[in-house]
Every structure is written in structure tokens, then in C-alpha cells.
């Protein structure tokens, strides 16, 4: 009797763990994508209605969209902060801690540092390992397309390595200040043991036209 109850409990535990995998790798994506789509639509609506006047930055709903053709996942909404709460909505967050990101719209030299989930919760940076040197990374704001080119990749680094976020990330090989973008996520897939880093540098800025024609890199 006792043995059969123990057996049933073990089977139950196994089923619950299996369900947790389903939850982590599937259900969180469903929920996060739904949220991200809704928030993204809201940002685009605001842009279309020109709310807040020129230059106004609505950081609450998101500041723009990240397009990385080599990740093949469409557009990723970018929001403020890298807390679990922000990232779990299926978006990329720009760092405000421990090193504050320099937003491209400020035109200052610095580093536009972003983080997003590798698995679950939208898994927006799942295919980060498909990015190669020379690939374009495009950030879309209300008025501009910021076209970056990937110049350095760090496939594995410690999660404490905050130096990768510096406004001049020396580890990328750069020695002079510039306009950089940094993508961070966890690696290897399905774990959080290390961090995967991709660096890009701003190539050009293209004005958004009335039809929002994407730059040729996204063609």
C-alpha cells in the first residue's frame, strides 16, 4: 500500500515536472507574444497619431523596435529596463542598471545595451547564435532607422561581466568611442550559466518616410 502511494506520488511529480517544461518553453511564449503584440500595436498607434509632439519619448510603452534579419523573428519591441517583469512580456529591455544604456536618439556616443530572453517568455533572442559578423541590426524609432553592423561576438562570458555594457566596450576590440549596440542573453540554450554578447556599431541613420519604407538591410 505504502509503496503504491509512493509510486503514484513519483509519477505525479514526473508529470508536474513535464508540465513545467511545457509551461516554460511553450505557454510563456504564448502569453508573452500576446502581450508584446498588444504593446507593440499601442506604440505604433501612438506614432501614427503623433501623440506627445515631436521629440517626445514615451518610455512606458516602448521606445521602438529592433529588427535583426539573421534572427528571423520579425520585430522586437524595446522597453525600458531589464527587470524580469519587463522582459517577461516578450520584449527586449535596455539596461538602466548596472550600466545605463545610451539611447540612439540622444545622438551621443555610447552603448545601446539590450537584453531579452533566450527561451520562454517570447524567446526574442533565441537565435542570437545565428548572427554573424557583418550582419545588420536595425533599430526603428518613430522618426529614424538606426542601422548597425555587427562587428564582434562573445559567445560565452560570465554573468558578472558588466564590462560588456560600458559605453566603450573594450572587450569588443574597439578603442575609440562610437555609437554601439550590445545584445545580451543567456547561453547555452535552456540554461542561464553564461551570457552571449553581440556588438554592433552604427553605420548610418535613415529618416523614416511617410510609408515607413524599411531600409535596404531589411529587404
Amino acid at each position: 500500500m505504502a509503496v503504491s502511494i509512493l509510486g503514484e506520488l513519483l509519477i505525479t511529480a514526473g508529470l508536474v515536472l513535464g508540465l513545467f517544461v511545457v509551461y516554460s518553453l511553450w505557454w510563456t511564449n504564448v502569453v508573452a507574444d500576446r502581450k508584446a503584440d498588444k504593446q507593440g500595436d499601442k506604440v505604433r498607434d501612438n506614432w501614427a497619431q503623433d501623440k506627445g509632439g515631436p521629440g517626445a519619448l514615451d518610455t512606458k510603452d516602448g521606445i521602438g523596435f529592433l529588427h535583426v534579419p539573421s534572427m528571423k523573428n520579425g520585430e522586437v519591441l524595446v522597453e525600458k529596463g531589464t527587470s524580469t517583469k519587463v522582459l517577461n512580456d516578450g520584449v527586449a529591455g535596455y539596461y538602466i542598471d548596472p550600466v545605463k544604456a545610451t539611447l540612439p536618439m540622444t545622438d551621443k556616443t555610447g552603448n545601446f545595451t539590450l537584453a531579452a530572453h533566450r527561451d520562454g517568455h517570447g524567446a526574442k533572442f533565441h537565435n542570437i547564435d545565428k548572427i554573424k559578423k557583418g550582419d545588420p541590426v536595425v533599430f526603428e524609432t518613430k522618426d529614424d532607422w538606426y542601422v548597425y553592423k555587427v562587428f564582434s561576438i562573445l559567445p560565452e562570458t560570465s554573468k558578472y561581466n558588466v564590462k560588456v555594457l560600458q559605453s566603450l566596450p573594450k572587450q569588443s576590440g574597439k578603442t575609440k568611442p562610437g555609437h554601439f549596440i550590445t545584445l545580451t542573453t543567456c547561453t547555452p540554450v535552456y540554461t542561464s550559466e553564461y551570457r552571449y554578447i553581440v556588438w554592433g556599431e552604427l553605420e548610418r541613420v535613415q529618416k523614416v518616410d511617410s510609408a515607413r519604407t524599411p531600409p535596404k538591410e531589411l529587404g
Binding site: 531589464t82 524580469t84 530572453h117 543567456c186 551570457r195
Partner: protein
Amino acid sequence: MYGFIWRHLPGNAWVKALISLVLVLAVVYVLFQYVFPWAEPLLPFNDVTVNNQ
């Protein structure tokens, strides 16, 4: 344990099966809605940022 639950459900086999299905769905709902979201941040699978801690 499951035998005990089965024996104490009312009705014939079909009704028991139906109630069991509803119970299973209720358990899955509670897990997905409350238990897993609570457990997830405690497990080291989903940290993606670099930080000082």
C-alpha cells in the same frame, strides 16, 4: 491515492471519467496560473542580464 479518489467519485464510470477530466484540468490550470509563475524566478533557467549580483 488515485484509486481512492476514483472510488469516492459519484456516478457510473462515465461520470467518474468526466469528473476526473475536470479535476485534471483544474490542477493544470492552477499549476500554469499560479504555481509555475511563482516557481520560475526561483530556478536558474531564465536570467539573461549581466549584473553585479
